[in-house]
């Protein structure tokens, strides 16, 4: 008896979409549809499901898959992008929604906020941006963030606290 990929995917879908969206960045999003990436992640999840040791870690595991996939795509794309002189700079702001539960009004609202958030994030320092990404978008626990960023847990809480403040200023909330 174990968690099925479908249930796990259903639960973390929102989070995965957010991670993919943000980690892709506007440039990559002109070339690839975040939904395609999501599908690739889903497929990979299905095939490597047996490597998940503890169902309790399914969320973090899926997020890692997503990040790795995007990193790979970015690596592959770098060569392509450099060679193409006519890169479209139009930002793809359509937040992919395969889920038909939310109504159109909420979605449009959400799209606006998404654009705002992304722009605000670009104006943060690298550390502040990263801690917000890892903590609020990828949902990692403080311990892991601390490991990844090479600081103590307390330092992370403080960093996040400040990042939130700065973000609030950028968002003019």
């Amino acid at each position: 008896m174990s968690l099925t990929p479908e249930v796990a995917f259903e639960r973390y879908r929102e989070r995965l979409l957010s991670v993919i969206y943000f980690r892709m960045g506007p440039d990559l999003r002109t070339r690839m549809d975040p939904e395609d990436v999501l599908q690739e992640v889903a497929i990979e999840a299905i095939h490597s499901w047996h490597t998940l040791d503890d169902p309790a870690n399914a969320g973090a595991w899926l997020v890692t898959l997503a990040r790795r996939k995007i990193a790979r795509i970015l690596r592959d794309q770098v060569g392509v992008a450099a060679r193409d002189p006519r890169r479209e700079r139009a930002m793809k702001t359509d937040f992919p929604v395969a889920d038909h539960r939310t109504g159109p009004a909420t979605m449009a609202d959400r799209k606006d906020r998404l654009v705002l958030l992304e722009q605000a994030l670009t104006r943060l320092s690298d550390d502040h941006r990263e801690v917000v990404m890892l903590s609020k978008i990828e949902g990692l626990p403080a311990k892991e963030i601390a490991e990844r960023m090479g600081r103590s847990e307390n330092a992370i809480h403080l960093l996040l606290s400040r990042a939130i403040k700065r973000l609030g200023q950028e968002l003019q909330l």
Binding site: S2, L167, G168, L171
Partner: protein
């Protein structure tokens, strides 16, 4: 990306607000109204700062999604493993209870509804009361609790679908969910359940189709007692306009008035539910809440026979009484209602007989029949055997040398317990299971002893005779027929041979001829176990005879134990039998057991091994298969198509059917195919064999649907028709044929469903052929809900999703199907084929399907 410098200037201190916020975050911060209120009261710069940061967090949550409030994977002792359904009050998951190692249904109440601490208290009271309700038609509540801010309780995980699904499906098809008398019978159980609860002072308060579960055998089960009291929905607040028209339908007049609820209110709701099930309509209906309330309080309900003219008059009267505005005018208690409903159910014979799965009585009779038929034979044989063995030993001892005798005796006694050589008489098991026969020069102890005895022989031929009896096939023609799956032909030959042997009388027998008789009985048992004969009793009788002739013989013991298994055998009991057999097996015998078991759990499908479909449930098969995986080291899961049975009887039938499909426009070809099919069924397949279901396929091809209807007067006939239709959908049926037969099939399916037969596979195929994948998806989802561990269901749904372009979810269903399949490789091949078809069709999703197809085809 550029931005501010990485660090704050060294001289900038962390502000008090920075630190305070950091502290909140470290404590696992969750924004709550209390905290906000406290901060606003506090006022001052710091408090404002914190409030501002909380707003930012809210903003982040709103954009990114409800990441924080996710349900954890584990709630206390329960690990969530699946989703069963989403309801108004919460979600029902499938969960695994670690401590008791069982699967349960876990209902988690939506957090928004349970924030109030008073509600928690009520929840506990209700759950406790519920746990003490034990009734056949009440879904058992195991326990309750709270974890991670979520209130939950656990129930028995039963297979089945909630009644509102049935009602919705029926409405989609323009039918009613149940026949009146059938409904009366089933709801009698629910009425009784309510009576039981009422006697213990517990009201349900929310009787409606969504709270009634339909189990696979058709019986109804009431769930969620008292829950509405917990979440405060029992007295309707009319101010919430619009939200309530749905629930108002089942509300009683006193409920609408906000009065105290009584047992009669539950009965009222039951009446509405019953009314809805048999007619598809509500007794009182309106568009708006106000109109609904008015009707509820002031208008009379629509008499049943106005919407359903052929309904029993009695039922109309009962419902009318139950729907009285004054609770005192309704039934005094659930018991009297149950009795009346039962009377309505029993009154007149229905057009379609109620489906009844093998009941206990039938089981007992069957067992006795086997025993009584063979007891006479068995007793006779036993007596004879005992007498003659003694005689034989005395004679031989007097005449032969001691060494020869002792070797021979040793060989005989060894033969009694050895599993035998796969290519010897016991190799008939290999014939049945399709195990590869071992090489001829693998010796057994018996052969070894006989060889040594032969060396001692002095003109003595018994050792050699016994050796040939031990090795030679009985009636080679019969074995050949068995290998082709022609069980009837094999049995006819063996009948003749056995009659000949037995007619020689039981005197002057020696061990050689006992061995010959043993092989003949065993061979005939095996022939009886082929799918085309399917004579379980005959096989049991022959196995009994064989084990009397060779008392310690292992092969008859295995087959007997397995033949006696019933459809209702629980998987754990089955595994206990498997364990015992392996444990008792002589050296080398365990391979035989495993081979037979593997054959036992194989699914029967066109073109597959010609095995008798032992009536094991899918759940039992899968348990055994997993067990085999452990015992047999993965060999169990290899596809059985590689056995010599690929050319079995079923392949011939499938071929004939395919030719029939091709010949729909060519009468000559059609006639030829039909002739061939029916001839095969007439000569090669015994009347009682499950393979006779193929006749349904040919009936459909011929367009002889009235013939099908005629068959559905008995339970067995009905089952055969459904099995036949399922066979049909597994073949490559041309859409034209389905379209042509649609009306007839609808009638047939309607009758089958009214008796509780599962017909989803057929409906899915029908809708797909008729070009309505959305309807097919709905049916497929019902099927998945009803049989959650059936690979075919997931595969069907995957196909619907592919049609609708829902690539990702098709992938999940495909993976799920492969994971659940008893034959994963063939299921994977089928899934990939579906994807390839989608790719070939082109369109905007073609690329995605291509990617998916590649990933599934490439993996192992």
């Amino acid at each position: 990306m550029t931005g501010n410098p990485d660090r704050l200037p060294a001289d900038e201190q962390a502000s008090a607000a920075d630190l305070r916020m950091a502290g909140l975050l470290a404590d696992g911060f969750r924004p709550s109204p209390d905290l906000r209120r406290a901060l606003r009261l506090e006022s001052g710069e710091e408090a404002d700062d914190i409030l501002g940061r909380i707003n930012v967090l809210d903003f982040l949550d709103s954009v990114v999604g409800d990441v924080g409030n996710e349900l954890p994977e584990r709630l206390g002792d329960y690990r969530i493993i699946g989703l069963l359904g989403r309801g108004g009050m919460g979600t029902v998951f499938e969960a695994y209870q670690e401590s008791l190692e069982r699967v349960v249904a876990l209902k988690v109440l939506a957090p928004s509804r349970t924030a109030d601490p008073r509600m928690r208290k009520r929840f506990r009271t209700e759950a406790r009361a519920n746990a003490n309700l034990h009734h056949q038609h009440i879904l058992p509540v195991f326990g309750f609790g709270e974890a991670a801010g979520h209130l939950y309780f656990t129930m028995e995980r039963v297979e089945g679908v909630s009644l509102d699904r049935h009602v919705a499906t029926a409405r989609r098809r323009g039918q009613a969910a149940m026949e009146p008398r059938d409904a009366a019978r089933r709801f009698a159980g629910v009425a009784d359940a309510l009576a039981h609860a009422h006697r213990r002072g517990i009201l349900h308060r929310d009787v409606k189709p969504g709270n009634i579960l339909v189990q696979p055998d058709g019986s109804l089960c009431l769930a969620d007692f008292g829950l509405s009291k917990v979440v405060g929905e029992d007295s309707l607040s009319v101010s919430e306009v619009g939200a309530f028209v749905g629930t108002l339908h089942y509300a009683s007049p006193e409920q609408a008035r906000g009065q105290e609820l009584t047992p009669a209110s539950d009965l009222y709701a039951l009446a509405v539910t019953l009314y809805q099930c048999v007619s598809g309509k509500m007794p009182i209906d309106a568009e708006t809440t106000e109109a609904m309330l008015d009707g509820l309080l002031n208008r009379d309900p629509l008499p049943l026979r106005r919407v359903l003219p052929h309904a029993p008059r009695d039922l109309e009267i009962v419902l009318d009484k139950l729907l009285s505005k004054d609770p005192r005018d309704r039934y005094p208690d659930g018991e009297s209602l149950a009795r009346d409903l039962q009377r309505i159910a029993d009154d007149e014979p229905v057009l379609v007989r109620r489906r009844s799965w093998p009941s206990r009585a039938w089981r007992v009779v069957r067992k006795h029949r086997v025993l009584s038929a063979t007891i006479a034979v068995a007793v006779l044989l036993l007596a004879v055997v005992l007498v003659l063995w003694r005689q034989v030993l005395v004679e031989e001892e007097a005449v032969r040398s001691a060494r020869y005798e002792s070797l021979l005796a040793a060989a005989i006694s060894r033969a009694e317990t050895e599993p035998g050589r796969p290519d010897g008489p016991d190799g008939l098991l290999a014939v049945l299971t399709g195990m590869a026969p071992e090489t001829a020069d693998q010796g057994t102890e018996v052969l070894d002893l006989l060889g040594r005895a032969d060396l001692q022989a002095d003109g003595e031929t018994r050792a050699r005779d016994l050796r040939s009896a031990y090795l030679d096939d009985p009636v080679p023609a019969a074995t050949a027929a068995l290998r082709e799956g022609r069980g009837q032909a094999a049995r006819a030959l063996l009948d003749a041979a056995i009659a000949a042997e037995e007619s020689r009388g039981f005197l002057d027998r020696d061990s050689v001829t006992w061995m010959r008789l043993y092989r003949l009985y065993l061979a005939r048992a095996v022939a009886s176990l082929t799918a085309s004969v399917a004579d379980q009793e005959g096989a049991a009788a022959d196995l009994l005879r064989a084990s009397f002739v060779r008392p310690g013989a292992f092969a008859p013991a295995i087959l007997s134990a397995l033949v006696r298994l019933e459809a209702s055998e629980s998987p754990s009991a089955l595994l206990a039998v498997c364990d015992r057999l392996i444990g008792e097996a002589p050296p080398g015998g365990d391979a035989v057991v495993l081979g037979v078991l593997r054959a036992l759990v194989a699914p029967v499908r066109p073109g597959a091994a010609n095995l008798m479909p032992f009536s094991l449930s899918k759940a039992a098969r899968r348990r055994v298969l997993r067990w085999l995986d452990v015992e047999d080291g993965g060999a169990a899961l290899q596809p059985l198509d590689s056995t010599p049975w690929a050319g079995g009887i079923e392949t011939s039938l499938a071929d004939a059917a395919q030719r029939g499909f091709a010949g729909l426009s060519d009468t000559a070809a059609l006639r030829a195919a039909l002739l061939e099919g029916r001839a095969l069924l007439g000569t090669e397949i015994a009347a009682g064999s499950p393979l006779q279901a193929w006749s349904v396929v040919f009936d459909v091809i011929e367009g002889a649907l009235p013939a099908l209807l005629a068959r559905m007067n008995t339970t067995a006939g009905m089952r055969q028709v459904v099995d036949g239709l399922v066979l049909l959908t597994r073949l490559d049926v041309p859409a034209e044929l389905l379209r042509r037969s649609q009306d007839g099939l609808e009638r047939v399916l309607g009758i089958a469903e009214a008796s509780g037969q599962p017909t989803e596979p057929i409906r899915v195929a029908l809708w797909m052929a008729l070009g309505d994948p959305a309807a097919a998806l709905a049916e497929a989802t019902d099927w998945v809900g009803r049989a959650a561990d059936d690979a075919d269901a997931y595969l069907a749904r995957a196909r619907c999703r592919i049609e609708l372009g829902d690539v990702t979810y098709a992938a999940f269903d495909g993976a799920q199907a492969i994971g659940l399949a008893l034959d994963p490789d063939s299921v994977r091949a089928r899934f990939v084929a579906m994807l390839e078809e989608a790719v070939a069709r082109g369109g905007e999703d073609a690329q995605r399907f291509q990617a998916l197809s590649r990933s599934f085809a490439g993996s192992d």
